[in-house]
Every structure is written in C-alpha cells, then in structure tokens.
C-alpha cells in the first residue's frame, strides 16, 4: 500500500510539473515579440514604427558607414540585420565597443525622413571571446575553430 501511495504522489507531482512548465513555456513563447528588447531594422520596416515613437533599434553597424559630422560630436552610421538597412544618427559619447561591423542597440526614434535619431547608444558584442592575436581570423561555426583568412 505504501509503495502505491508513493507512486501516486510521484505521478501527480510529475503531471503537475509538466503542466506548470508547459504553461510557463507557452506564456514565454507567446511573449516572444512583446519581450523583445529591441526592433531589428526589418521589424521597424515591417511594423512601420511611426516617427517620434521611442523605440530601441538593434543590429550591426555597417562596415564603412560610420561618419563623423563637422560638429565633431555627431556620428552617422547605418544599422543592418542582414535584411534591411536603416540610417542612424547620434550626438554624444559612444561606448568603447561601438565600432563598424559590431553590434549596436540604439535608443531613440525615427524622424520624418526615416533616419533613426539615437539619444543613447549601447554596444552589443557577440558570444565570441578570443585573444587579440586571433582578431581578423575567420570563425567556423560548426567546428568552432579559428582559421587565418
């Protein structure tokens, strides 16, 4: 009898656990878009963010697009997610890790011409960490090896 009760409790606990975890995961995946920390350039285009609405825009800084304006404190650059490109402008001090070819999350809003006017810049780096000697080498995502270009 004791064994039977124990098994009953085990089955009940497991069913409850599976149900609760399933509900939690369903809720989390339903949040998918709402819990996103930033819009990608493609999101911004598809969803048609109206000018003046405060959002975050995240993506990569397009190589060669970073230009310093004449006033010396304003920079212009393009943000891409590989599907769409958005021009952006920022006046102020950018974080050290902000550079071409690297990730950026910009807070601000679009102006009427579709340029993103950033009020704050955050640098987003990827999951790769390596010594300086390896910089410029290419990374193989399947074998996790670095090779000279």
């Amino acid at each position: 009898m004791a064994m039977k009760k124990k098994h009953q409790r085990l089955v009940l606990a497991l069913i409850a656990l599976v149900a609760v975890i399933g509900a939690g995961l369903l809720a989390a995946s339903a949040l998918k878009d709402e819990a996103a920390y930033f819009y990608t350039p493609e999101d911004a285009k598809v969803k048609g963010v109206e000018p003046g609405k405060a959002i975050r825009l995240g993506g990569m800084v397009v190589g060669g697009s970073l230009k310093k304006q004449a006033d010396g404190v304003t920079i212009a650059f393009d943000v891409t997610d590989g599907k769409a490109v958005v021009p952006a402008r920022f006046t102020g001090i950018a974080p050290d890790l902000f550079r071409e070819g690297s990730g950026v999350v910009a807070e601000g809003s679009f102006d009427r011409n579709g340029t993103f006017i950033a009020t704050n810049l955050l640098a987003k780096h990827d999951e790769r960490y390596m010594p300086r000697e390896l910089e410029g080498m290419t990374y193989n995502a399947t074998s996790h090896e670095m090779k000279a270009q």
């Binding site: 975890i21 509900a23 920390y37 974080p95 050290d96 780096h125 960490y129 010594p131 996790h144």
Partner: protein, 265 residues
C-alpha cells in the same frame, strides 16, 4: 537514498567532507582567479574587462543550479517524504541567492565598460533578477514554515506550500537559459553549449578551475547549513521534550538522547 533517512548517518559523512569541499574549493577558485588575472590574454574587443567572466559565469551557473537543487529537493520531499529533503532545500537557498546576486552585480560591473550601461531590462537580466526574487520568496516562506513549528520533524521545516513554490519557480530556469535565444537581447547569445565553446581556449581554461572551485564551495556551504539546521531542529526537539517531561527529567537523561533525536530531527 533512504540510507540517509537517518540524519546521524548523513552527519557521519557530511562532517568530514565539509572541510575538504571548503578548502579544496577555495584553493581551486583562488588558483583559477589568479590564472584568469595573470596568465590569460585580454579579449580582442573587450580588452581586460573580459576577465570578470571567471567570476560571473560560475556565479550564474550556481545561481541556476541552486534552484535546480531546491526544486529536486522539493520533489523528493513531496513524493518520497525524505526527511533530509526539506533541510537540503533550506540549506541551498541562501548560497543560491548569494551566487545569483554575485552574478547580477558582476554582470552590471561588466556591462558598464562593454555595453555602456549598468542595467537594461532585457530578457536575460530581467529573468535573472526574477530568480533572485524567487530565492527571497523561498527563504521567507521556508523561514515562516520552520518558525511555525508544524513542519519540523517530517520535512526539516519546509511546508508543502514552500515545496510547491520551489517547483513552480523552476519554470524560470529554462526561461533564463533561452532568454537570449527567444528574444532580442542586449546580452549576447550562449557561448558555451553542448556543441562546444565560442570562447577561445586561451581565454576559456581558467573558467574550468573557478567553476569547479565555486561548485565545491557551494557544496561546503550547503553541508554546513544542513548541519546547522539539523542541530537547530535537535535543540528545538529537546526543548519541546524538556517542556513536556519537566525540566529535571530532561536534564537527567541527556546522555542517551543522541540516537533518538537523530530520528526526530
């Protein structure tokens, strides 16, 4: 597992094991931290600040591992009614919360120079903060149910509600793990997965030392806290019996109590 249903038997193993875990863990994490500070190269992008990784990553893993332990203990308590399960759950909660807090603080210190912010409400950071609050909730519930007194004896003072809270809170673990995959986040994606690591070996290796060191230390703290909780329960059981049997009688038989109380606690 039920071999340890008798706390006296558990204590016979836990007592000599504690100093080994404590000093071994401390030696490993000091060695790992020194190697991480002195021997490894700086990161190509982040420079020297990458070294906080050797503290941040073990703290994050142990914060999540701690709640996994609490949830397993809660399951064992509810299904098998193991007398040490509740004690283990309560013992894990405080170091679990501590390591989660260390993860949040080191992450914040790391975020300022790299990302340009102390804190952002992205998926990873928010879900990790929720984990810290879950720990606070569990600690408060367990303390309340232990103070209530009814729980002690059967499950080390952890009420059924507390155990259910621990199991429900476990939903947050896969959410923390997947937060950087499901949602756009400021925090980068996972570096270390079952398929390998995107951290170069030259930077990665001391992490093994600090992860192992912190884990052993965590184990030592849990064993010490379990022993403290068992001792506390024993005191309470003795006080209760002394109150029942009258003071003089309780004092008189103090010699032969060990085995009996072992079972009570």
């Amino acid at each position: 597992m039920h071999a340890f249903a008798n706390p006296a038997r558990f204590l016979r193993i836990a007592r000599p094991l504690t100093p080994w875990l404590f000093w071994g863990g401390l030696a490993l994490l000091v060695a790992g931290a020194l190697c991480g500070l002195l021997l490894t190269p700086a990161d190509y992008l982040q420079g020297e600040s990458v070294r906080i990784l050797y503290i941040h990553v073990p703290a994050a893993w142990l914060g999540m591992g701690g709640w996994t332990g609490i949830a397993v203990a809660a399951l064992v308590q509810m299904v098998w009614r193991h007398p040490l399960a509740g004690v283990a759950g309560r013992a894990i909660a405080v170091p679990g919360a501590l390591f989660t807090a260390i993860c949040l603080v080191t992450g914040s210190i790391w975020g300022r120079p790299t990302w340009g912010t102390w804190w952002e409400w992205d998926g990873r950071m928010t879900s990790m903060l929720v984990l810290l609050f879950l720990y606070f909730g569990y600690i408060a519930l367990a303390r309340a149910s232990a103070a209530d007194g009814r729980g002690i004896g059967d499950n080390g003072g952890v009420s059924r509600v507390t155990a259910i809270f621990a199991l429900v809170g476990a939903i947050n673990l896969p959410i923390i793990n997947r937060s950087v995959v499901w949602w756009n986040s400021l925090h980068q994606g996972p570096s270390i997965t079952v398929r390998g690591s995107t951290i170069d070996m030259a930077i990665l290796w001391p992490l093994g030392l600090t992860v192992l060191g912190f884990s052993l230390w965590f184990g030592a703290i849990v064993l010490m806290r379990m022993r403290a909780i068992l001792a506390e329960n024993k005191i309470e059981a003795r006080l209760a019996r002394m109150a029942r049997e009258g003071l003089s009688e309780g004092m008189g038989e103090s010699g032969g109590e060990g085995a009996r109380e072992g079972r009570v606690a």
